[in-house]
Symmetry: C2
Subunit: 234 residues, 2 copies
DNA sequence: CTATAATGTGAACAGTGTTCAAATTATAGA
DNA sequence: TCTATAATTTGAACACTGTTCACATTATAG
């Protein structure tokens, strides 16, 4: 059903608020996210915002959901751009896009994966679905590689802990993911490995050690696929 | 040179302030770190604290340095406890201790590796040394494994990017680390991999996927060592 | 044209970090 | 022990923060 005039206008103001919030964050970091600053930005009294968001936390949650989806969009776009190439090349492109998005949208990434706002904890039931969406892009490509035989079972990733496998099977059945437990497992392994690099790079802990974080990341993406059993030279 | 009475007393108050800060953080998270709350806790006017720390940021920096050293202590303690066992067993114990410390000291860990305080960015020249200290424990054990031949060169970790190797060599010569570039590289690889798991677990992003994060972490520690070329069954 | 709902205002409250002059306390020297 | 000096502590003030509330304004629908 289409939105009426009032809902449309309301949605427009909500959008204006979010855009002002993103502008402030981009300029002053996640610290710049202040309800009063947003109100100033759009020439409104702070109290007026409460007609659109019940609290600052609610606004932050909205920003987080949008950021998650933007990240998922970036991953999907990377896959599409490399659509003509092999699944392995697509996966590499997607994993590169993951880091690239994080580095070009540091405040959004911190909003998502850090705990940048004091006293705020994102509600899981809201954040988990968009997490899964981005994760699915990676897992889907891994599933392709498994089915095409490009990714063969080699130690140590030819096995996974029984508890984890049971859990993943449960997840697949409950939410109807069109992938195998093995693909999910390898996805989780890759996701956590690369996430660590990005997190450490973002807060400047990695550079003092390895110097060029970009080179390190690229190398680890390749090493990751090799250890998982990717045969074709990349 | 021993501290005079006045310096001793001064240091005592500084310690009292830090302890109050830690107490508040443990109770209310990193958000609870408020200068005024600390002042209330120790029955002092907020302005009085400025005689001991130039600002809240300075206090936070002191807490971060202590946390880094506490983490390094925990890693060293884990190595000592496993001193009788093989270097591989010691390394596993240390890597387990890394996660254990993070989970038992979540606020300290977030203080270190997150960006939990709005507008605050830890000065690198102060934070890097204690980072290196903890890192050295891991790298030292890897060096032992390399020298004893327990860790043999297998693909893909028998090579590292030339840029990274050059940088690590430079680091070794400048700071006089008694380890090889290869040990440093493998250390960085392991560190980033496991750090990602811990970060995602800490903010509850991993559990919805793999369920039991403890089992996942243990498995990944083993897989890490295996992919790096550890021969002995663990 | 009017009743009603939505929207925006402005003041207030309790909290935050920080600065500053003044008052207090403790130390060191004669 | 008394005093001059330094260290410490106080309390008020300033500019912020999120949030609530009664009130005024505006727009919508009947």
């Amino acid at each position: 059903m289409p939105l009426g005039r009032v809902e449309q206008r309301r949605e427009g103001v909500r959008e204006e608020i979010k855009q002002a919030a993103r502008r402030l964050m981009a300029e002053h970091g996640t610290a710049g996210l202040s309800l009063r600053a947003i109100a100033r930005e759009i020439n409104m009294q702070p109290s007026g915002l409460y007609h659109y968001y019940g609290s600052l936390d609610e606004l932050i949650t909205a920003l987080i959901v949008e950021a998650f989806n933007a990240l998922a969009d970036a991953l999907e776009a990377a896959r599409e751009t490399a659509a003509g190439q092999s699944s392995a090349a697509q996966l590499i492109a997607v994993l590169q896009a993951y880091r690239r998005w994080a580095m070009t949208h540091p405040t959004d990434f911190q909003l998502i994966y850090g705990n940048p706002i004091p006293g705020y904890a994102a509600p899981r039931e809201i954040t988990v679905p968009p997490v899964i969406r981005g994760f699915s892009v990676i897992v889907g490509l891994i599933e392709n590689l498994l089915q095409s035989g490009a990714l063969e079972a080699v130690p140590p990733y030819d096995h996974m802990p029984p508890e984890i496998e049971a859990r993943l099977q449960e997840l697949i059945e409950r939410d109807g993911y069109p992938v195998s437990a093995r693909a999910l497992f390898l996805g989780a392994v890759g996701w956590t490995q690369l996430h660590g690099i990005i997190m450490l790079e973002m807060f400047n802990h990695l550079q003092p050690v390895v110097g060029d974080a970009d080179v390190f990341y690229r190398a680890q993406v390749i090493n990751l696929l090799k250890t998982m059993g990717l045969k074709t030279a990349v």
